[in-house]
Symmetry: C2
Subunit: 449 residues, 2 copies
């Protein structure tokens, strides 16, 4: 057991209590490592589902449904009776009293794993958030889908009714992996998926812009792969603009440097910041709010408190930071779980080592880039590798099979079945109570009560 200043009430019961805050990849794999042990595990998340974030862009681009990439946390651990789940929002941590704080409640812990991830960062321009949604949650993805599909509906309506039609410009801010995925997916929607759907407008005339402030897209990849990605994006019809920062975002345009660019929909893939919970721990953080952890991923002076995933700032032996990708989070989660088990067996701790298995970034159908060690590849082979890796890692058998079928079907038919516009709150078409225009004719019951 680690050094502890306070004895928590749970210690008397002799079964150690591990509390995990956040069930992303890090929290999920930590819990998996602890499942079945003589340990009480409590998962706390403010959502009831784990989101397979690498495929979220597929929901945003109408290729997959939310249910196909999100799994209820409870269902993952249904058979693991030592794992409990709490749908709650954590507001802070009382390190002295070993207590996780919520609005009116608290939970005591023996070990704590904080893996609450990251959120969008607008670099001081929080007013851009409603104008340029990012892609972190299922709700983000369906909101992006709604905005993009509605843009075409409005243009088609205006064209049919003889009104002036504004050309559709989809602007993606940020040329990292998420921005590249989104830009590629938007181009495919415009050029292929919606090609036959409209009568009065031609979706293929859509402009898709990808704007990156730095000198090249996919900056964490080798230069040749950045060039290849740019080339593949251009083939899909994406205009790639680098070396110019977005200086303002308004309702109908953005400023790229000092140039005004009309925009129909703006998507944000430009930056993330660590969850505010990191700073609340009261320990040193880096510029992005990530907690500077020890080699065993714990915080100074509290060897029973782990910080994992996107919330942790960890250096590799070569001095480079461990990247904020799913495989790193998974490795951290497994490490933390195994370290706790080793502690309880009085075994010494080993430091965390990140195994870099390579990187893959998808761009579109048969378009991707990848690096495995010194081997660089792109196009169809990279895309196939990406596809196989992601299907393999999708959690839950049901989802894996269904997603595979969806993709095979989408690949063969160029169709995207999840093109639903749902959610009334921000609908451009006003929904007035008392006027219902969708016909629904089954199971009618008149005056049963």
């Amino acid at each position: 057991m680690p050094n502890q200043n306070n004895v928590s009430p749970d210690m008397s019961s002799k079964i150690p209590h591990v509390v995990i805050v956040g069930v992303g990849f890090a929290g999920l794999y930590a819990a998996k490592a602890l499942a079945g042990q003589n340990i009480r595990v409590t998962l706390i998340d403010r959502r009831n589902h784990h989101t397979f974030q690498p495929l979220l862009y597929q929901v945003a681009s109408a290729g997959l449904s939310p249910g196909e990439i999100a799994v209820p946390i409870r269902s993952i651990f249904a058979k693991d009776v030592n794992v409990e789940t709490l749908l709650e929002e954590v507001t802070g941590v009382d390190l002295q009293n070993q207590r996780v704080l919520m609005d009116d409640d608290s939970v005591d812990y023996d070990y704590l794993i904080v893996a609450s991830g990251a959120t969008h960062a607008y670099f001081g321009h929080d007013d851009w958030a409603p104008l340029a949604p990012g892609l972190k949650t299922v709700e983000d993805a369906t909101e992006i889908r709604r905005r993009v599909l509605l843009a075409y509906e409005i243009a088609e309506r205006d064209a049919q009714l003889g009104k002036p039609v504004e050309p559709i410009n989809l602007v993606v801010v940020g040329g990292g992996p998420t921005g590249v995925e989104l830009a590629g997916a938007m181009a495919e929607i415009a050029r292929q998926v919606l090609a036959d759907d409209f009568r009065a407008i031609r979706p293929a005339t859509t402009r898709v812009l990808l704007i990156e402030a730095g000198p090249r897209i996919l900056a964490t990849y080798p230069e040749d792969l950045s060039r290849s990605a740019t080339e593949q994006l251009r083939k899909l019809g994406v205009e790639v603009i680098t070396g110019t920062a977005v200086t303002d975002i308004a309702a109908d345009h953005i400023m790229v440097g000092d140039k005004r660019v009309r925009s129909t929909v703006v998507l944000w893939g430009a930056g993330v910041a660590a969850s505010p919970l990191g700073k609340k721990l009261g320990v040193p953080t880096d510029r992005a709010g990530r907690v500077l952890v020890s080699p065993d991923l714990t915080i100074p002076g509290h060897s029973n408190v782990f910080v994992l995933g996107d919330l942790a700032s960890v250096k590799q032996p070569n001095g480079r930071p461990v990247p904020g990708v799913a495989p790193a989070a998974i490795q951290m989660g497994k490490y933390a779980g195994e370290t706790i088990i080793a502690d309880l067996h009085n075994k010494p701790r080993k430091p965390f080592h990140y195994h870099d298995k390579g990187s893959l970034a998808t761009i579109g159908r048969s378009a991707a880039v990848g690096e495995i060690g010194r081997f660089h590849f792109s196009g169809w082979p990279a895309w196939m590798a990406w596809l196989l890796v992601h299907i393999y890692f999708l959690i839950g058998f049901r989802n894996r099979v269904v997603v595979l079928l969806q993709w095979l079907w989408a690949y063969v038919s160029f169709s995207r079945g999840a093109r639903l516009i749902t959610g009334q709150s921000k609908s451009v078409v006003p929904i007035r109570p008392g006027v219902v225009h969708e016909a629904d004719v089954s199971n009618r019951e008149v005056a049963a009560d």
Copy 2:
């Protein structure tokens, strides 16, 4: 061509223009009949998708995802270049000038098909609507799913945190087919689907109540099938209460007659009323607001205006009304489309005949009732028949295969994969900006812009 008082601008172009308001089953099948003809068809709906309403209760009970039972209207008619779609809300019809009215716009027609369906009716108690959601749209279904799943999450949280836990009572008002489906599905969720998911509460102790004001449930079915349905519901653990009306609905209880019954979630399956568009046509309607149509489903004095589906009041030769079920709407839609084509070929109109192919009502896994002519059946055979019929009619190949797989999997495993709680607006767990607890660790890009 029918008698027309006004010559619409479109007549000059010689291609007749058919406008269809509402793309439920009636509107959809009318459009399918007109697809590929030398006719311009405009579909107007305020949603971009056709909802396969008979399976909506599966979304509400977390068995299927919205994308599996809703199909984008445009994708259905992608290859039919004579069919246009307009995402708009119709506010009225100018019969004299042959014009469909929207907020700021209008569309001229030569033929009009009004198939805007029905909506929930709370019999003068509109304040009950937010307390007892009905089941007409995808949004209704996900809202019901959210409320039911959240009820268990809150109970589990309270139990884990040592607070008093209220037992969960799920109340379904109305014993028609929708109420029976919902009650059966809720009982299955409580007894089977969620059985292993919680640690501190036992979902199997949930009370599920089905309350019907009339003397028996499934009143449109023969008495022996009502009895069988009641018996099958009781086996699933549903308390069926008949002969007593719900007199009030409050946040935490309902009044059944003069008896107060505590309720955690209340679902409304008790009544529907025709879309208000019916009354706006200025022609006679029945008590429920349905338009009294001629034998050719048109309105008096306007043989170019059809009213179909749930919005139409049609009598069968035996004097019984054509029921408000999907097969009737489909038959009306086909009839209207074919009648317009016959008109254009100067063929005489035939009156509409409803072919009653029988009725099926599902209750749960291996539980259903059915009648085909004088043949009554229930239990597993009725359920298999229901299953096959509904899979067969599900629109779109992709959906058919995926839904079949989902069901097979759910049948074998008792799991329901679509148990997502999404939507922040009315979340019981407060979502504060700036506090993010779901970990999401992939594709992080720091400061690209």
